[in-house]
């Protein structure tokens, strides 16, 4: 942990950014972007989450170990999603029912 105390201004800035992103995601959801709706919504959510992790939770100034730990959780989630969806998205490719 660094012993530098972050400024209030930084916190308020991040807070403002989060509010703006919330408004953006609501606004964007109202537009029909076709296939892009979900990626955009998720992109904004990831940005917001990263802001909270980096600034509010102080990972930005933290040890490499903490950074690794923080990333690994999401990495593992990705493993669950990708290998799991690998089943669902390839069902029926063989053209044999139930395979």
């Amino acid at each position: 942990m660094s012993h530098q105390v972050p400024s209030i201004r930084m916190y308020v800035g991040v807070f403002a950014a989060l509010l703006i992103f919330t408004a953006t995601t609501v606004w964007v959801a109202g537009l029909d972007l076709g296939r892009l709706n979900t990626p955009v919504a998720l992109g904004i959510a990831i940005t917001k989450g990263s802001l909270v992790i980096l600034f509010f939770m102080g990972v930005r100034n933290n040890t490499p170990l903490t950074k690794t730990v923080a990333i690994s959780g999401f990495l593992w989630l990705l493993i669950l999603f990708s290998l799991g969806m690998n089943d669902y998205l390839t069902r029926g490719w063989l053209g044999v029912t139930g395979r």
Binding site: L80, L83, N86, D87, Y88, T90, R91, G92, R99
Partner: protein, 551 residues
């Protein structure tokens, strides 16, 4: 003897006395003992279920117990053995006791959380076992939906909640270990000077924290389906039961490595000690533990080759499964090479090492049969699987646990047990185990499905052999229990280093003082430096008044 006692300082076992002092202790060693007592009790309960199952299977007709009771028996056998014995067996007892000592710390990073994890474990176990009184649970330990969610009319919800609660105990143990290993190492104790037991438990802890929460939410979903009438795996509203299997095995396959990795860690310690030699390829053995833990997360779908999972997903899981066999092979070869040109000590630890190797080899190699998709079709859900995982978890895991227990018993209790009895017991266990489970491989290839209460008569001979073997195996375990208990009261006092082993744990008195070390040790040597290791001190020799820390 008397003179030796003078030099002994009060150990962690001594003051403060009393039940309250034990139940409220924050000392990792006492908590390890609490865990040891509890896992032994659950092992006995699980073994009792197993004995009933094996007795039932002597005859092809289901005549000893009803089908319903049989299903409840194997379910509870699985649940108790896996969640309440195998998973905590080595990490929560030997790991809890020795990880802080091995790295030169006075305790785990979070002693209170350590105690909490034991209480959570006990509460989870009581909740789960309460179903024995309220009517049992018959889903199998796998809780497969939709049987568990909509079909079974037994006490699934309670059992699921018990497993859910116990999951937190594993998580807390795992995160305590990880933080401790990262942050509490003594000066000079670099990562590559850590005993391999610590590496193995570190790898295990990764699985605890990354996998356990997924199974926790999965069984919670089952409980919610039953009580709140949610429908997430319910095929009647378009839910997919196979999703349950994905979520379940995402944890439960890595959980298999929870049961074997710490055992591999124990064996690494023992092999180095019985060979009185530096472990061969230290870093390869260390990293293979991490590799097993990480790749272990990528292979869960090999439980699902014939469940209607897509064939392409099956291919990916099959190739990754084959990959995870490699680090296990690397470990095995390194252990063998360690014995080359060693100075092999024929004490009881050697017997456990050889027993482990024999059983683990068979267990590991039969995994190849199952990872190979075309063959798995035939073997899936037969007794071949039952034999395979018992070879890994009981043949490998429990043998390693017993080996570790015998190796560290003098340090933990300050007493020696009977060497000849230990050797006899290890051989009884080895032969009993093989007689119990080897016939099951043949049964499996012949096609006998698992979880069968009655079976066609042509399978009888092999089943009778298996039951006979179980009796021998049970006798072996009983013998161990008896002489270990006897040693606590009547065994000769243990010296500081009965095996002449390396490592910080052998440089402090047996049993250790409450804070392990008087002063934080400074480590200057690599692990397994047997060139400079002291000779074994035989029991009954007075405890040498050497320095208690080693600076």
């Amino acid at each position: 003897m008397k003179e030796a006692a003078v030099h002994q300082e009060p150990s962690y076992l001594g003051a403060p006395y009393g039940l309250a002092a034990w139940l409220l202790t924050k000392d990792h060693k006492r908590i390890a003992i609490l865990y040891l007592i509890s896992v032994t009790i659950f092992f006995a309960i699980g073994a009792l279920f197993a004995a009933t199952i094996r007795t039932e299977l002597i005859t092809p007709q289901g005549d000893l117990v009803t089908a319903d009771l049989y299903n409840k028996l194997f379910t509870l056998h699985g649940v108790v053995m896996i969640f309440f014995f195998l998973i905590p067996s080595i990490p929560a007892t030997l790991g809890n006791f020795f990880i802080p000592i091995m790295i030169g710390a006075k305790d785990l990073a979070f002693p209170r959380i350590n105690l909490l994890s034991w209480y959570i474990y006990v509460v989870g176990a009581i909740v789960t076992l309460s179903v024995v009184i309220t009517g049992g649970v018959d889903t199998g330990w796998t809780f497969y939906a939709p049987y568990s969610s909509i079909a079974s009319n037994t006490n699934v919800t309670t059992a699921a909640l018990g497993v859910f609660i116990t999951g937190f105990s594993s998580i807390l143990t795992g995160f305590n270990f990880i933080v401790t290993i990262h942050r509490m190492r003594a000066p000079g104790m670099t990562w590559f000077r850590l005993p391999l037991f610590v590496w193995a438990n570190y790898a295990t802890s990764l699985i605890f924290i990354l996998g356990t929460p997924v199974v926790a939410i999965t069984v919670l979903l089952i409980a919610a389906e039953r009580t709140l009438h949610l429908g997430i795996f319910d095929p009647r509203i378009g839910g997919d039961p196979i999703l349950f299997q994905h979520l379940f095995w995402f944890y439960s396959h890595p959980a298999v490595y929870i049961m074997i990795l710490p055992g591999m860690g124990v064996i690494s310690e023992l092999v180095a000690n019985v060979s009185r030699k530096q472990i061969f390829g230290y870093s390869f053995v260390a990293f293979s533990s991490i590799a097993i833990a990480l790749i272990g997360f990528l292979v869960w779908g090999h439980h699902m080759f014939v469940t209607g999972q897509s064939i392409y997903a099956g291919l990916v899981f099959s190739i990754l499964t084959m990959l995870v066999a490699v680090p296990s092979a690397v470990k095995t070869f390194n252990w063998t090479a360690t014995m080359y040109k060693g100075s092999i000590t024929w004490d009881s630890p050697l017997f456990w090492v050889l027993g482990f190797m024999g059983l683990f080899l068979v267990g590991g190699l039969t995994g190849l049969f199952l990872g190979s998709m075309g063959l798995d079709v035939h073997l899936h859900d037969t007794y071949f699987i039952v034999a395979h995982f018992h070879y890994i978890m009981v043949g490998g895991g429990v043998t390693a646990f017993l080996g570790g227990l015998h190796f560290y018993w003098p340090k933990m209790t300050g007493r020696m047990y009977s060497e000849p009895l230990a050797k006899i017991a290890s051989m009884l266990v080895f032969f009993g185990f093989n007689l119990t489970f080897f016939p099951q491989f043949i049964l499996g290839y012949m096609g006998m499905p698992r979880r069968y209460h009655s079976y066609p008569p042509e399978f009888q001979v092999l089943n009778v052999m298996s039951t006979g073997g179980a009796a021998v195996l049970g006798t072996g375990y009983m013998l161990i229990l008896i002489y270990l208990l006897y040693s606590i009261f009547k065994g000769p006092k243990a010296p500081m280093n009965p095996w002449g082993a390396t490592g910080l744990e052998w440089k402090i008195q047996s049993p250790p003082i409450t804070h392990n070390f008087h002063e934080t040790p400074v480590v200057t040597e690599e692990a397994y430096d047997y060139i400079h290791a002291p000779a074994p001190e035989r029991a009954l020799t007075p405890v040498s008044p050497r320095e208690v820390t080693h600076e």
